[in-house]
């Protein structure tokens, strides 16, 4: 595989999974906070759905997104099937429940009286939530790592909604599957090593930030 194609695949993997993780945090952080801090009818059901969503098989998500974005599907007119955007959509559906569920668990692990204490010191609702996020920063960073880990390593959804099209939607995981199917095990192993190195580097950086915050 030419070097420029390899870097193209690697950058697309990072871009797609990075955007999907960012969107998942933007959805999961407030939604997880709401589930942790507010009591409302249906909250337990929502928590159960989120916890179930944390174990969604990527291939099932891929199938659902593919049917939705298919030309004859309800959102077919958007012409998103077999685009990087379609992969981002599928990956957000995979990662958002992970970030939401772990955010809710992180905030529920804090002493519930801390909220009252912060409000009793004159915090606005938003200031109170900001302090709780800061106090739970270690498990929240773990939620971010888990969210990223769930999408950078998935293949089923990316394959189904992206189509593994060369120069367009081929990412590291789908390229590994392709090379394996072709019997090019050396290439597949090299791509796997690259994927592992990237995830190791990113998780090392996040872990370093996490543990620095612990000191």
């Amino acid at each position: 595989m030419p070097l420029d194609e390899l870097s193209e695949i690697t950058l697309l993997s990072l871009r797609v999974s990075g955007v999907a993780t960012l969107l998942s945090v933007l959805i999961g952080l407030p939604f997880g906070t709401l589930l942790a801090l507010r009591k409302f009818p249906g909250r337990s059901l929502l928590l159960t759905l989120v916890n179930t969503g944390m174990a969604l098989p990527p291939v099932v998500v891929g199938l659902a997104v593919a049917i939705t974005l298919w030309r004859s599907g309800p959102l077919g007119s958007l012409r998103l099937i077999y685009t990087p955007t379609a992969i981002v959509i599928a990956q957000v559906i995979i990662a958002a429940p992970v970030v939401t569920g772990l955010t809710a668990a992180a905030l529920q692990a804090l002493d519930p009286r801390l909220r009252l204490q912060l409000l009793g010191l004159g915090a606005s609702r938003f200031q109170m939530v900001q302090q709780l996020w800061r106090e739970a920063r270690l498990p929240l960073l773990a939620a971010l790592m888990a969210g990223f880990g769930s999408v950078i390593s998935e293949v089923g959804a990316s394959m189904m909604v992206g189509g593994n099209i060369r120069h367009q939607t081929r990412v590291l995981t789908t390229a590994i599957v392709l090379e394996t199917n072709k019997g090019e095990f050396e290439r597949a192993l090299a791509l796997s090593a690259l994927l592992l190195a990237i995830t190791l580097l990113i998780n090392y950086t996040l872990t370093w930030i996490q543990q620095r915050g612990k000191r």
Partner: protein, 216 residues
């Protein structure tokens, strides 16, 4: 002397039903009032209601002559200081913990530094300024929690068992310091306790609660 807090026909309901029922209670401005009573008598519930952290089922609380419902919750809470039973400090240096309420009020940084340093000094914990709150002893943590509320110079100070879980020496020292500080501040203070010694040494008034009602 006028009352800062006037309570009329107040009822607080929690999951187990009505837990606090006060027909009439006035708390005089600038006085230190002790709330005594057995566990479950409603002492903490009353403090939380006064901090507007519990909503009354019925009745009225007036603050400085105004019904509480007519004052914005945030504006009101920024006139009080609350110290709960445990210190509940954040996993940050002592300075940041004490500065917390001032930062909520968006005070200028030099003003925050000046006031925090003043109160660390007054409570004898200046040497802990940079130490992480998680590394403090129980007595030190309680002093930081008190400094965090006192630095706000509140109109109403609510202390829920401020001496709980302190050893005898720490208890006596903190009691002596509060006995010195509270009259100087002239802040209306309400504190809960089980100790007759705390009442004797610190309080101008005593209110006894039993099963959610004032018993004397």
């Amino acid at each position: 002397m006028s009352a800062l807090i006037e309570i009329r026909d107040l009822k607080i309901r929690r999951q187990q039903g009505i837990v606090l029922e006060i027909a009439r209670l006035d708390i005089e401005r600038g006085r230190v009032t002790a709330l005594v009573g057995p566990n479950g008598a409603g002492k903490t519930t009353l403090l939380l209601a006064l901090a507007r952290l519990l909503k009354p089922a019925c009745g009225e609380i007036r603050f400085d002559g105004q019904p509480l419902e007519t004052v914005s919750t945030l504006d009101y809470r920024r006139r009080i200081g609350l110290v709960m039973q445990d210190a509940l400090l954040l996993d940050r240096p002592v300075f940041d913990n004490v500065a917390l309420g001032l930062r909520f009020r968006r005070l200028p940084r030099p003003e925050i530094c000046r006031r925090v340093d003043e109160w660390l000094e007054r409570l004898g914990i200046s040497s802990l300024r940079s130490r992480k709150a998680t590394q403090l002893s129980g007595g030190e943590a309680q002093r930081v929690a008190l400094a965090r509320a006192l630095v706000l110079q509140p109109d109403l100070l609510l202390l829920d068992e401020p001496f709980k879980s302190l050893d005898e020496i720490s208890h006596a020292r903190l009691l002596a310091d509060l006995k010195n500080i509270l009259p100087q501040m002239n802040t209306t203070t309400l504190f809960t306790t089980h100790s007759t010694r705390d009442v004797r040494e610190l309080a101008d008034e005593k209110i006894s609660l039993r099963s959610g009602k004032i018993s004397e």
